[in-house]
């Protein structure tokens, strides 16, 4: 039956030129939305850290175009636009909706999403979405990540389950006033809201331009073919993988007293190259927890999917088409699956999400040499914490801001070493780093040190990237620092013989230099003269360190990522000469002998 219908379809199919041109045009729409937001965002989270994403879904709520978006943000946009359609039977041109509800498709409440339906000739064809992490969302404590929240009531965020905020392009000011009353930095929030709105309306105009030029029928045909093309690319890639069933487990660090044993994260992958699908089964995960670390449905899906996309050719379009090859199995009421209200998802996008993403990409390394990735460095420690307080330089004006200045190192891949400014798995290096000078100008903070660490990376044929050591404190009034670190007990794992990354730690250092271990998740207050010092974490290695090219080890020693002793102990590489005068060179004979000996004793 299908084949009968296929014939007229084939005749009407778009020319190869039009398919390529329109793909480019829709990508261009998302890029223009992204640029608009990057330039207009008020809060540092948007315009400096780039913690936002733009995308387009179809009117029947398939993810359509996502250029340059953060993986953690974009895969759920289709769930959010579906919520708009479900909750409203009077959607019309000129509407805009605010959505941040993790129980109906959002990632976590801090990610406000502006959704605009796009109409043409009276028909609802697309939705454009602009999603941005807010500087504050009115939580009960001054952070957008409330790990200890027993439930949404303790968490305290204002939730907007697809609430209409514009009709006929006029803003419904009631909603604005509610937010401005409740959110700690109302100006930032409103600035970011306008930025999202501007971005979405830009997207709407550009899609109208395309429709005006090419007509509705062509664009609908394009959407169908673009999904089919994306699916074909994905299926081809999966068909090249070996068949396998892989089960794997990892643990988010313990968080005493809340979670003394940590959080187990489990996945079962079924790779079926005959049909070209990967099943991702998360149903064996634990029930929802009485804290803010539960994943939303969007995060469960997006981070599993991102783990897979990370291991496939990176030019496969990320949309509803390629998505058809992924079969997700989620359980209702699970902490890693579909959350049950009122369990909190305040920290859904980072900690457990990072573990899930790492777990999936590392599991794929079990397929064999050349597949999968190591785990990336993780946790929002000192360098990604939320600082708040009052600034004596500006009449004690209050401030709150997430730092994006520390760094966990990226995972080793089959092709190369880890990416240095990786950050955390869910942003994978996309975010911008703050400048020390701009931070010290904007907030009453003083940095003592930010340096990449030595001998910390997961060694391997390819090694992980190192994390940094970062130390800072307030420059006048006391400063509250809220963080949610990880990998202070369970490091990022290496794969295929690659070693694990380092274990992170944080200390409070007083004026006499006494060091007190800080909890990995929590809130501390620093007074002037006391410092928070964090050792951030590195990525895991890929493959056997004894197989790493000795020349690359020599280069790592010259560049001080690895000490000569570590080069000998872990890589079996023997060097002679000195680093300082650049006379250091390989002793190849000694290296061969040492490596042979290590292999024997290793067996």
């Amino acid at each position: 039956m299908d084949s009968d219908r296929d014939i007229p379809h084939k005749e009407k199919s778009l020319s190869p030129m039009l398919l390529a041109v329109l793909a480019n045009r829709f990508d261009g729409v998302v890029r223009e939305m992204t640029n608009t937001m990057l330039r207009t965002g008020r809060s540092a989270v948007i315009n400096s850290a780039r913690d936002f994403s733009c995308g387009i879904t179809t009117a029947d709520n398939e993810l359509f175009a996502t250029a340059e978006g953060l993986p953690a943000h974009v895969y759920g946009l289709n769930l959010q636009t579906a919520a708009v359609c479900e909750y409203h039977d009077d959607i019309k041109e000129g509407d805009a909706y605010l959505h941040n509800d993790p129980y109906s498709g959002n990632s976590h409440p801090a990610d406000h999403t502006l959704i605009v339906p796009v109409f043409w000739e009276g028909e609802h064809l697309f939705n454009v979405c602009a999603k941005a992490h807010q500087a504050d969302i009115g939580n009960s404590i001054p952070t957008t990540y409330h790990a200890a929240a027993r439930d949404v009531y303790e968490e305290g965020a204002l939730l907007f389950p697809a609430v209409r905020v514009q009709r006929d392009r006029e803003t419904i000011e009631d909603i604005i006033r509610m937010c401005q009353r409740r959110i700690r930095v109302p100006d930032y929030w409103h600035g970011d809201f306008l930025s999202m709105l501007g971005s979405a309306r830009t997207g709407e105009n550009r899609i109208h331009d395309i429709l005006r030029k090419y007509g509705k029928a062509t664009i609908k045909r394009f959407a169908t073919e673009w999904f089919d093309y994306s699916e074909a690319r994905m299926r081809q890639a999966i068909k090249k993988l070996p068949a396998a069933v892989i089960e794997r487990e990892s643990f988010h660090d313990p968080m005493p007293p809340m979670l003394p044993d940590g959080i187990p994260v489990r996945v079962k992958l079924v790779v079926d190259p005959t049909v070209g699908t990967i099943e991702i089964d998360l149903t064996s995960n634990i029930d929802c927890m009485n804290n803010g670390l539960n994943l939303s449905e969007a995060c469960s899906i997006s981070n599993s999917a991102a783990g897979v996309y990370n291991c496939l050719p990176s030019d496969i379009p990320r949309n509803g088409g390629s998505y058809r090859c992924l079969k997700l199995k989620l359980r209702d009421g699970s902490a890693i699956g579909i959350p049950r209200f009122p369990h909190s998802c305040s920290v859904a996008t980072t900690n457990v999400s990072e573990r899930l993403l790492n777990l999936v990409q590392a599991a794929l390394a079990d397929l064999g040499e050349g597949y999968g990735l190591a785990e990336g460095g993780l946790g929002m420690g000192a360098g990604m914490s939320v600082i708040s307080g009052r600034d004596a330089r500006h009449n004690d004006h209050s401030y709150v801001n997430q730092l994006i200045i520390g760094n966990n190192g990226g995972p080793a891949s089959p092709e190369c070493d880890g990416w240095v400014t990786y950050g955390i798995p869910v942003v994978a290096g996309l975010m911008y780093r703050d400048s020390v000078e701009i931070n010290e100008l904007s907030y009453p903070i003083h940095f003592k040190e930010i340096r990449l660490t030595q001998d910390t990376t997961g060694a391997g044929f390819n090694r992980g990237a190192p994390g940094v050591r970062i130390t800072y404190g307030p420059s006048n009034h006391p400063m509250t620092v809220v963080f949610a670190a990880d990998a202070q007990v369970n490091p990022a794992r290496g794969v295929r013989g690659g070693l694990d990354g380092n274990v992170g730690e944080m200390h409070v250092v007083d004026q006499y230099g006494n060091r007190t271990r800080a909890p990995s998740v929590g809130e501390i207050e620093l007074t002037k003269g006391t410092w928070l010092s964090g050792l951030e974490t590195s990525g895991g290695g890929y493959g056997d360190p004894l197989l790493r090219d000795p020349k690359r080890v020599l280069d790592d020693v010259m560049e001080r990522y690895v000490s000569p002793a570590y080069a000998a102990d872990v890589y079996g590489v023997v060097l002679k000469g000195k680093i300082d005068d650049e006379t250091l060179e390989l002793d190849l004979a000694a290296t061969d002998a040492r490596r042979a000996g290590m292999r024997v004793s290793g067996d």
């Binding site: 390529a20 041109v21 261009g28 501007g198 990226g410 240095v420 996309l430 000078e437 010290e440 930010i450």
Partner: protein, 699 residues
Amino acid sequence: MDQSHTSGWRITVEYGGTFTDVVVADNTGRFVIGKALTTPDRIYVGLKSALISAADTLTLKLPEVLANSDIFIYGTTRATNAIVTGNIAKTAFLTTAGFPDVLVLREGGKFDPHDFSTPYPKPYIARRHTFEINERIDASGDVVTALDKEKTEAVIQLIGERGFEACAVSLLWSTANPKHEKQIGGLIRSLLPDLPFTLSHELNPILREYRRGSSAAIDASIKPLMQTHLRDLESDLRDDGYTGEILVSTTIGGCLDIDSVVERPIHTVRSGPAMGPVAGRRYAELEEQVGAVLVVDMGGTTFDVSLVRDGKISITPETWLGERFTGHMLGIPAVDARSVGAGGGSIAWLDSAGLLHVGPQSAGANPGPACYGLGGLKPTVTDCALVLGYIDPGFFLGGRMQLDVKAAERAIETISGPLGISARAAAFSIFAVSNETMINAIKDITVSEGIDPSEAVIVAGGGAAGLSIVPIARELKCRAVIVPRTASVLSACGMQFSDIQVEQSAAVTTRSDAFDRDAVNQCLDDIDRSLAVFAEKLASRGFDARSTHYRVDAHYAAQVWDIAVDLPASRLESKTLVDQLVETFHANHRRIFSVEDRASPIEFLNWTGRLAIRLPQAKVAASAIDDNGATRMTRTVLFDIDDHREATIVRGDSVSVGELIVGPAIVEEATTTLVIPPGARATLSSADSFLIEWIPEVD
């Protein structure tokens, strides 16, 4: 020597990776082009043969041309190439203790979240060449930790012992208090008097440690190379008897005397692309086209686009050498000329599911497009232009190179075969997809500057631009297209219209709700003092038509990215003037971002003065007609997948001023080809440019 010619000629030179272009402008407005292969070992060898070829066209001897000229402006890609290829001096980087990884960690960012096969870029200066200096100054300029003089001396001695050839010093907050950098500068001068070095606060006193540090590192690292390069050129020119002024073109689209450039060679980086909009602005003025002007320069491998708005060339603080995020940031203000990998050499390919892509891979000049017959087998945009009938295989480069149509068709069949379409349809498809890359590049620059392309005219230069610029302009709904007949050497022409320009910045942070007029005016005094050094030096040589303009980088408090605002006066003497500045900021913010926030204080950060010294302007006149009334031929040309037309073929040198050429038509020049599709028409202006406009549609 023949003294009968009136002096006042101008020679401009663009030293490129492959060719050295020369433009000689005489005092009647005639522009003569000379071209020769670049000779990297001694620039003057290639330059001299290009000069001789221009002199030949003028039927003069080289000494006569040199004697008639009183201004010589030199643009070079030498510094850019050295930086991109890492062929730089062994440079030490001195930084505040605790922050050794400023050049490694940079500002983050990456294009593709799912790409794990791209290695992390190496820092511009190796970590082992980075030295931490015990000292710290804070945001208010107070010394937190005094400079450890003893240890610093030890570091400098070590630098001397280890054979470093240059040194860059960039300390945190040196912009707020340069004391420690100055002390280090003094120590270097006394301990290693011959070591070239750069202090970040002197070169580029802006906030953001990576950008300032990167600019200092780049500047120091090319000092030995560029000093030799420029001094050699100077002495070779003098040896051949040239006695006029020698100027060097710069990153901000101006030029500077050779001594100043030798002190700060970073200002020569990307001066070539910076000259495109200088030329474009002038050509648009000559056609009386005001408002927004987009200037594009398209060659074999790259497409550069820049923007001129109300006569002002857009400047950006963010210029990457190499790819964004993986290259190195220049760190100093530069003409905003954005490059994408698209050109005549871009290669078409199909991915595993049959989607057509063009570029970013390029066949370059060697083997080049398949039709060159030099061994290239892959289909390029130039091959498509040939198969579509845009290029006459017998009149490429004025007939100096015969093109192989069969080879082009064979290459295109590798695309058309799998797609099941004709070779001509595939050629058109490749052409259209290639245009998309350029359309995107133009959209990116207009979006970030808040310009609607439909308000703009396009000035197109570069050898390949005429092939596709008219359909691109039509897609963007631009008002008109200007293609100067000297389009193939846009940068060298830009220098003909450039002035001496020098900028000096200083960082003084103040807010609109507590504006410190005294501090700002004092900082403007400082800027003027350092600009006066240049002004006086040049005035003593007779260049005294000078003016200074001031701007400031500012943002709403808690925003991070700045926009530039022009100052309403040379000093902010009154509250009224400060209010005017604040209003201008709101207006610019609204234009670029379509919102403003009057409730927020504005933070002002980096103040810049730009000194401009007017040079005598080159005139432009129409070229002589060599071949008036030559027979017009026609050729079958493809303007859409199913749209074959007989197009009029016009030799450029047969067109007279004011003559109307109605599309479909093709104007063939020795160095470029202009395709005029149906619906467009072109006229040759008295300023020697083709002006292309749309024929109003009749229903």
